[in-house]
Assembly symmetry: C2
Homo-oligomer: 303 residues x 2
């Protein structure tokens, strides 16, 4: 089954203490779509400007990403520039140029509307709603978000959470949204907002899954793949959830049973993402290198 992914399609200029890379292919949809492409066919929804480099279109194509839902509009592609501190965890935005995103209204091609797996990757909640409105009867819908939307579009986001099966956010966002410092307490509150599946991403510390099953709640802790060197963590969270959704769309059996392994695949693809700027290392991934790291993670937590 295919995965529909909506999110940002951007050019990222990324500065780290060691290097500077202008106008890399970035955006939540780009990272998530490439990550998902190792597992399943992907239908991408997004918008780019006339300045969008052809080589990036070709990159999508090499990953067999369906681009019927990618609008090419007059104007400039969304451009983000950011800088990482020496510890590679803290980053600050230097500049954001919305470009064609300012007037983006995703219209889904007919062939997209019956997708079973929908990833509403990080983008304005109003656009996530808009995509969901056009879907027929998706089997599993997951939304990601970022702190910006907690600050400027909270009401939209809260409404969205009633419409999704899964919600993915990072630890600081979970704390901000729930006003709970303890993540177990935060998870409980997040379930009350709607989603049955909640995943809190903790960067180098992995991710915690909580599944609400009636009165019972189950947890899973997914380790992050330990890296000797983080080159650029931009897009790691998008890669994580993209790979997870790709895996889930092809795995047999109930989501409840598959999602743990899906998160492991997510951790592995996210680890490759961190090892190069932009999508450089993610695009070099193969089924074989993925499976090798999955085996490593199996050993890493066994006792």
């Amino acid at each position: 089954m295919s995965v529909l992914i909506v999110g940002s399609t951007a050019l990222d200029s990324i500065k780290t203490p060691k290097a500077e890379n202008p106008r890399l292919l970035g955006g939540s949809a780009s990272h998530a779509a490439v990550a998902a492409s190792f597992f399943a066919p992907v239908k991408m929804v997004g918008i780019v400007g006339k300045d969008f480099p052809k080589k990036y279109v070709q990159l999508y194509q090499r990953h067999k990403i369906d681009l019927e839902g990618l609008q090419i509009a007059d104007g400039k592609t969304f451009h983000w520039s950011g800088e990482y501190e020496i510890n590679m965890n803290n980053r600050r935005t230097l500049e954001t140029e919305l470009g064609v995103f300012e007037t983006f209204s995703p219209k889904l091609p007919e062939s997209y509307r019956s997708a079973d797996f929908v990833l509403l990757a990080n983008i304005a909640p109003s656009l996530q709603h808009h995509v969901l409105d056009q879907m027929r009867r998706p089997k599993f819908v997951v939304a990601d978000t970022m702190d910006l939307w907690l600050n400027i579009a909270l009401a939209d986001l809260i409404k969205l959470l009633k419409r999704v099966d899964g919600f993915v956010l990072n630890d600081s966002e979970a704390r901000q949204l729930t006003q709970e410092d303890n993540l177990m307490a935060a998870l409980k509150k997040l379930h009350k907002l709607g989603p049955k599946f909640v995943i809190i991403k903790k960067g180098e510390h992995g991710a915690t899954l909580s599944i609400r099953n009636g009165a019972k709640t189950e947890f899973f802790m997914s380790p992050a793949y330990p890296l000797n060197r983080v080159v650029d963590p931009t897009g790691a969270g998008d890669s994580f959830v993209g790979a997870m959704m790709g895996y889930l769309s092809t795995a047999r059996g109930p989501i409840e049973q598959n999602i743990r392994r899906g998160m492991i695949y997510g951790s592995v693809v996210a680890s490759f993402c961190c090892e190069g700027f932009g999508l450089k290392m993610t695009t070099r991934v193969t089924k074989h290198t993925i499976e090798k790291r999955v085996k490593d993670l199996e050993k890493l937590v066994r006792f």
Copy 2:
């Protein structure tokens, strides 16, 4: 086999956003010894003043801790007072009164010197050396430390690392000692200082073990037991390593094979420690409640 534990024996006055508790039983040796006592007989080395409450001696005795190596000296028991911030991770020391610790020179009873498992819990590296000097041929020696010793007794600590099998420290200490922000890089440097086993404690994010085996290095990630509420994390790290050493001293087979499970037991006892002030909840632990949480952790990481 019994575990010899040297460390601080203290009275702790602990302030959290929710409560204030004066003169609780504390210190690295107290926490580690009680934690180890659920698995093995413990021989404790430490010093207290004449003001040390009888009820705390009785607490040690209830846990069958051998107190032949506990000196009772003229003067006051070491007293630490500290305050936790609302997130329960950041703490600051309000006051430290060394008392009888100022002139402490541990002299091991004859019956202690042949212990096979030695835990040099957090205390001045010179005292850790001094205890090790008096041991016959211990089978497995682990040292813990704290940032204070990195700042004021680094040379002693570096010397100690050449004499121990295992070294346990927390993530910020590992970064400070190695000047490496990446923990995998830090682990590599820590092995070069001597120890075959290095464990980096990451608080609520669990602990990472690295075993150097010739040219090969193996890793293990121990999850922290997820808690809905942290009351007082003081002594959690000491409980972790104490329980691990207690478990290891009774487990059959090579340390390399048992240490992962040892860390899991450590995580579990540390989780109980965090649920009450001082040793309140740790002392209520039973074999049964420990095994239940070990099973929970097994489920928590399975995929």
